[in-house]
Symmetry: D2
Subunit: 405 residues, 4 copies
């Protein structure tokens, strides 16, 4: 059977499956589950095209990794076929630990970082595949001596980021987020086991950094996405309370498992097998179906929020550069309490506030290394050539029902 399938991808044209084992991993139902997990969760409420899945993103990152391998090899860096296969596996599976609506889920039901779960899945798959994922896992954990292979998967210029910026721009239609990935990949090189980028690509790198920043504010932290996510967090928290009071259940036994437990990373050791079992059946459907049943629940808060999400009657959100004063928050809470006094609801639960930050590029973290024409390698911040937007930008938000003000 020919496993080197060609898959249409509107972003890159075609993606070719480069190794038989990649095909076999894609066929596994744990990977197929990613077909039902949207990359950008609730963002389609702002950008209706943003329905692409983690499945598609994994394929795209795989495609770019193949290109990067070709480029590095053409510049004399040795990458064996075994290593190429391994890094392809790593990038394919790097996000397999993501759950539905990850961000909201990690704040409420599954207090475990998705990378930890990815490792769990990879280990299990490694057993099933008779140890053929050993090298891939070692690269994922940055334990392999060729460090640049890990950097292709996770680093300042990794193929994960390169694909998601591209893909998210493409499907949202926010064209300003498009990056010159083609040029950046062509300019990659390896020096002393580290991924570097040739000086010629310096303006493309600058562009890449500003595109990323723009995507943060225009897409990832868009106020409508933020407020929808806040509402989903409130729904899941409330559902967990009610479930643990035995006054609610959802149609999904797997979601019920996570409503019943208060899990964190420490539980992975003892309950790992159980967690992975239920987690492997969880996708966007379970959450949306839960919202649909919650909409007619007796609990006012649960029903009010769930209907809001389903019918896109979202809360108002205010955003500013400084924290909201407690006076202002109290005033909003008071008004909310008055408005909802006849509903059996804790009005505090209808108001939420917090902050979001975004650092585009930090010289304190691992830097992008530039390969100068002279052959020297320098951290980007030490070249005077480009303007690097720095510093953390923080925005404060406050959300509450629209009818209040």
């Amino acid at each position: 059977m020919n496993k080197r399938k060609i898959i249409n991808d509107p972003v890159y044209g075609f993606v070719t499956i480069p190794f038989d084992i990649i095909y076999d991993l894609m066929e596994h139902h744990w990977f197929q589950r990613l077909r039902r997990i949207k990359q950008l969760a609730l963002t389609h409420y702002v950008y209706p095209g943003a329905l692409h899945t983690r499945f598609h993103h994994a394929l795209g990152a795989l495609h770019l990794t193949g290109q990067a391998i070709d480029v590095l090899r053409s510049k004399g860096t040795e990458i064996t076929e075994e290593e190429a296969e391994a890094v392809s596996i790593t990038i394919l599976l790097h996000d397999i630990g993501h759950g539905p609506f990850s961000h909201a889920l990690e704040h409420t039901l599954v207090n475990i970082h998705h990378e930890a779960i990815s490792v769990l899945f990879m280990n299990k798959l490694n057993e099933e595949f008779g140890g053929r994922l050993d090298l891939a896992i070692s690269i994922f954990k940055n334990q392999y001596h060729k460090k640049f292979l890990h950097q292709l998967v996770s680093g300042q210029l990794d193929m994960d980021r390169m694909d998601y910026l591209n893909r998210d721009s493409f499907f949202t239609g926010v064209h300003e987020g498009v990056i010159g990935y083609h040029r950046i990949i062509k300019m990659l090189a390896e020096r002393n086991n580290e991924l570097v980028v040739e000086e010629k690509a310096i303006y493309s790198i600058e562009r890449f950094l500003t595109a990323r920043r723009l995507m943060y504010w225009q897409v990832y932290l868009h106020k409508t996405t933020l407020v929808a996510e806040q509402m989903l967090i409130k729904v899941l928290k409330r559902a967990k309370e009610l479930f643990q009071q035995e006054s609610l259940a959802t149609p999904s036994e797997h979601l019920n498992f996570f409503l019943s437990e208060n899990l964190n990373e420490k539980d992975l050791e003892q309950k790992g097998a159980k967690i992975i079992h239920h987690y492997s059946f969880l996708d966007d459907t379970d959450i949306v179906m839960a919202l649909k049943t919650f909409a007619s629940a007796n609990d006012f808060l649960l029903s009010f929020l769930s209907k809001g999400l389903l019918y896109r009657k979202l809360f108002r959100i205010e955003i500013q550069n400084t924290p909201f004063t407690s006076d202002y928050i109290n005033m909003i809470r008071h008004k909310t309490a008055t408005m909802f006094q006849h509903n059996d609801v804790d009005s505090e639960e209808l108001v939420s506030f917090g902050k979001e930050s975004n650092t585009t590029y930090s010289v304190s973290k691992e830097e992008i290394n530039i390969l100068l024409k002279t052959g020297e390698v320098v951290p980007m911040s030490e070249t005077s050539m480009i303007n690097i937007p720095q510093g953390i930008i923080t925005k404060h938000y406050l959300c509450y029902p629209k009818t209040i003000l």
Copy 2:
């Protein structure tokens, strides 16, 4: 409140809401439901990008309709603001009667054409909006004297088709399906109350017809889509049987309603209100969640098929230009029976066959009318200028579990 929102659309860049009432209709939860109904049902199993929804398609068709109105007006055809608003409403709502996985649903649970349901929804909305949809409904039913307005919504060159070909090409990545919609729309005109197209666009029209045909074979009737749909049809039929035997229920009360009834268009009169109620809550989630619960059902057939769909273990499909002989079909059935003899299953249910046809352009139906440079209007088939692919092409298929042969 400013209702003339601008929405990002990766296909057209931006779509602007042209009338306040359009915004209000979009806010209605019946329309929001279209956010959860994929335009191309199971096609994303072949083309992973094909996740776009009927919501997005409706917006796109609205956008093109606005452009067509501008073009017609600029050529001297009178379209009042009231008419422009009405035809915008019509195109926005033309598909509101679609259910999840329409094609499979109409063959199993809801034996009613989606257009009939669209009319039901429109009438209900018209009540809610105090008669403001009167003109829109009249255009939809082709009862308005300016026939070309109806043709913009439903005809050989309507904005529905124009958008879905574009949009389906875009999201599948099958670029060959891209049509020169921009040019065709620029070349639209009205003569004697009919929509015509200027001679200059004739090659774009030819291109449009071949693109459509290509999309049929490469996307809409792709063998993987066909086989997945056949499997879904079998699941829904089996679920209905079991439900009516009271040995099954799904988590969705709305889906249960349709499993419990054997509805067809005649029921609309008596049970219209009930049908519309349950239908208005039905979306892709209900079906996929049902598949997830069916996967662990006791019934072998239901579970086998549902798992196949969820994990993308699809049946084999054979396609040919002539009908399969009964000998061949019997042989397949026999092998299937042998293979599944220990499972409590009617092996006939695991084999399905049928045919699909596609007529690109038929001179017997309403024709595309060409406005010659001389001012004369002639049906396209009478101009000798272009090569019109004609005739019905029929393909026969036969599906069965992969393990058989």
Copy 3:
């Protein structure tokens, strides 16, 4: 020195120089001359973006050839590095014999097919490069035993055609001409020394054929292009007459050479060296500069036509499916004569007529061969799968000064 340069191409993103000798050939001033010869001659009078050059087309075809080589190799067809280099040279140089405004030139000053001149150039370059073009020339002349290599350069699905359709679509903005080259190339294969295409690409092939036909009528034989070319032909003929009467010279000694001679292919043997010398200095500049000087010439016809071309005051052109009657032509000539009676001009010279044909695909010529899933290879016309537009379409034209009617 690193000769594997990367060149930006808006059509494909980047084109990489694959062999050192390719770089050296590109540096040769005979190849640099192609920078000053527009691919589509006067077409920019209709499509203002159509200014791309034969230089750029050669690069694009080179790029696609590299992709095709990779695809064929990945399917097990042996292509040695030497052969890959040779076929790259062949495609790079396949059009080096083109002159400025080729079509007009070949009808007037240089009655020699450009391919014959390409061979002349290649032979000369082969001498300069010490025989390193032997294999490339052998492939060009279809004398090499691996026939499919020649077919990559010249055949029903060659990389020349694939690039020019793409490139011409891109720069004219006639998007309907875009072809799924990516898919077609991915589906190429070799069987029995012949280039074949896998069955899966059949709709892309159909699309390719219709795109080509559309480009013929919408671009290559666009009436404005036709009429401008007719005017240029008349200018060059008239200039030749006057030059040979010694009453005119142009600023270009090289153009003057061709005005002075009446060359055809037979002259290549005796005057080859001289022809190639002057030809190698001829580009669009010589022709346009001549027009600029002709505009103020004393000869009415020459000046009238040259101004018309420079200022884009083009003649009227009538096009129809049947030949113009001699009555009609005579009437036009008569009117022209009357109109221009006070100018010292042979009015016949102001009227021209003729015909242009286009065959999209002919079963009588070499056919596209389809590699069926069964492994069988059949000519495309024998598969019943697609609709092949056939038959020659001929259009008749008549051009004359606008002021006449």
Copy 4:
């Protein structure tokens, strides 16, 4: 006659002629001349697709101006049909005073700013068109009371810049230069007679500024473009010397005129008519044809440089952030003198140096004004929202024949 033509533009799809007078102006041979003047002069030596003309750019800017007018009107800003026509004329003609290879020309033969010549052309056209350009000229000179109309043509966010960034990105293939013009234009508004941009577009503005900066370094001041331009400047200077010594003439009487004179802006008053006459016949052809004749001139310097340009044997260029030391320059000169000692040439003429600067955005100049959601208008530098790259970046270059070092 219908003058509202539709023109294909690969950048925007279609451009429609919005007013009859626009068509008439486009037909004028002064405007047709822009068909033969490349927007980016010698840049196609680096980016082979960069052959687009000032003609095409004028059309593109016209198209965007039409969109901006629609947007402003839709937000309640009054723009009469007369004003819309006038500003369309202004943008169409804003660059009509450009000569071939402007930058090199203005440094050598025509020491007059192209805007001054544009005004000359507009005034002449105004006479021909019976005063119908009065308002357009008044807007061009910023004398009209609706200042925002002038800002559409010339300002921080004018349609000129918007088009050329887009167009230059498109044709060079430097996709990082693509700007979200669509979004920026949708967000334009007018307040107190000034053009402002809504806060929502702030990230698009940031993107626009970085795209512009990137285009400067990657395209406009690309080292290969710089060195080619330096060579052309040297050619033109030398040709002028020789012409004035009566030892040279070119085939173009119009170019000869400018070689014979030492013009600057003061000459416009006395010799305006003569200047405009010759200038109106000057295009890229005259310069390239001159190079072709210079290539075989007796003067070594002229011939050496001209051949270098024609055959793309460009000089070496060194670029650095600090000025070159006189020691280094003297060393290069000395080596050059030694190398060329047997040629009758002043070796100083073969070495050139200088600097180029680029300011992306300066708060000292007119600023971009942001319309906050609160309704307030503030200069961009006063919002803390975005990161504005500031400061002048200067690069120093030194060019000399490649064979030297």
